[in-house]
């Protein structure tokens, strides 16, 4: 399962790197796709070693890779997400609670919350739905939450420098979060137990 998750997440980031970079060029600094692809390339290269680890350790290793290899705010944020999950997993709580801890780590690292036109606008509602046991709704919620960042005015991150002009573009971080959520669900729904 860990190997499949890495493969699938890598494939979706690599397949959308240009789209993400284009979105980021519109309202950020144009490196989101390139940065994430670099981090996920390293994850893919270390896939076998990570997949051998127990779940909490695998999360921790993957988080460390993203924190150190992505080279932008997105690496610190996605890396912190996995490191937050890892800490919760170590304590033996369920996956929904692990995700909740991951989202809390992103909030803390980014000093932000929902409504600022960031990845949190996707991560928070998805995490909440998961906690409520609405697994079947997650894709739709992620899609809608990502779309909802379009009309928002950015108040956090590089897009906030654009103020009103950030309105009308979906947030690149919310977009990559949506893509990664779909990728993870693809693997889980296939029931791949590798």
């Amino acid at each position: 399962m860990i190997a499949s998750l890495i493969e699938r997440c890598h494939a979706t980031i690599a397949g959308h790197a240009e789209v993400l970079t284009e979105l980021d060029r519109a309202i950020g600094d144009g490196d989101h796709g390139i940065n994430l692809e670099r981090g996920f390339d390293v994850l893919l290269a270390e896939k076998d070693a990570i997949a051998e680890l127990p779940w909490p350790k695998a999360l921790q290793e993957a988080g460390k890779v993203l924190v150190s290899k992505v080279g932008g705010a997105s690496g610190a944020l996605y890396g912190s997400f996995l490191l937050g999950m890892a800490k919760a997993a170590e304590e033996g709580v369920d996956v929904a609670s692990q995700v909740e801890a991951g989202v809390a780590a992103v909030r803390k690292r980014g000093k932000s919350d929902v409504g600022a036109k960031t990845m949190l606008d996707v991560l928070v509602p998805v995490s909440e739905a998961l906690a409520e046991g609405r697994a079947g709704d997650l894709r739709r919620i992620a899609d809608e939450a990502r779309e909802a960042t379009g009309p928002m005015k950015a108040t956090r991150g590089r897009a906030s420098f654009l103020g009103e002009r950030s309105i009308g573009h979906c947030d690149p971080g919310a977009t990559s979060a949506r893509l990664l959520i779909h990728a993870v669900l693809d693997v889980i729904e296939q029931g791949d137990a590798r």
Binding site: D29, D31, N35, S68, K69, G71, A73, G75, G79
Partner: protein
């Protein structure tokens, strides 16, 4: 020893140029700078930032000056990687990088404490 100063920019050129300005004002304080991602492009890199902080770390503490969001977040991570004991003596100034660093370094040069360096940089930066 005096408070160490670290400059973290998305751009290697800005980090280097600012270090030059700081040196002119604040002579031989413990100063380190880093700019760009691991490959030397625009960005910020946790490992490079951690190394820069370690270079100037001392008991009086370290003041870090950053430019944009990613540099700040990656500096937060780098500080955590130092371990709790050393991390407790490292602060990020909420000030514009150029003005903040020049003022903060001057305060460090004249023997100011870490709290004074940060406070002056944030007040006048």
């Amino acid at each position: 020893m005096s408070v160490g100063v670290v400059l973290v920019s998305h751009s290697p050129l800005i980090a280097e140029g600012l270090a030059q300005m700081v040196r002119q004002m604040a002579g031989d304080i413990a100063l380190a700078f880093t700019g760009g991602d691991a490959g030397g492009g625009l960005g910020s890199d946790t490992e490079k930032i951690k190394t820069a902080i370690e270079e100037v770390w001392n008991e009086d503490g370290v003041a870090v000056f950053v430019d944009l969001g990613g540099a700040e977040m990656n500096t937060d991570v780098a500080i955590e990687l130092l371990g709790a004991e050393r991390a407790a003596k490292v602060r990020i100034a909420a000030a514009p990088i150029v003005e903040g660093a020049v003022i903060g370094a001057t305060v460090a040069f004249t023997g100011g404490t870490l709290e004074e360096v940060i406070a002056e940089a944030e007040a006048y930066g």
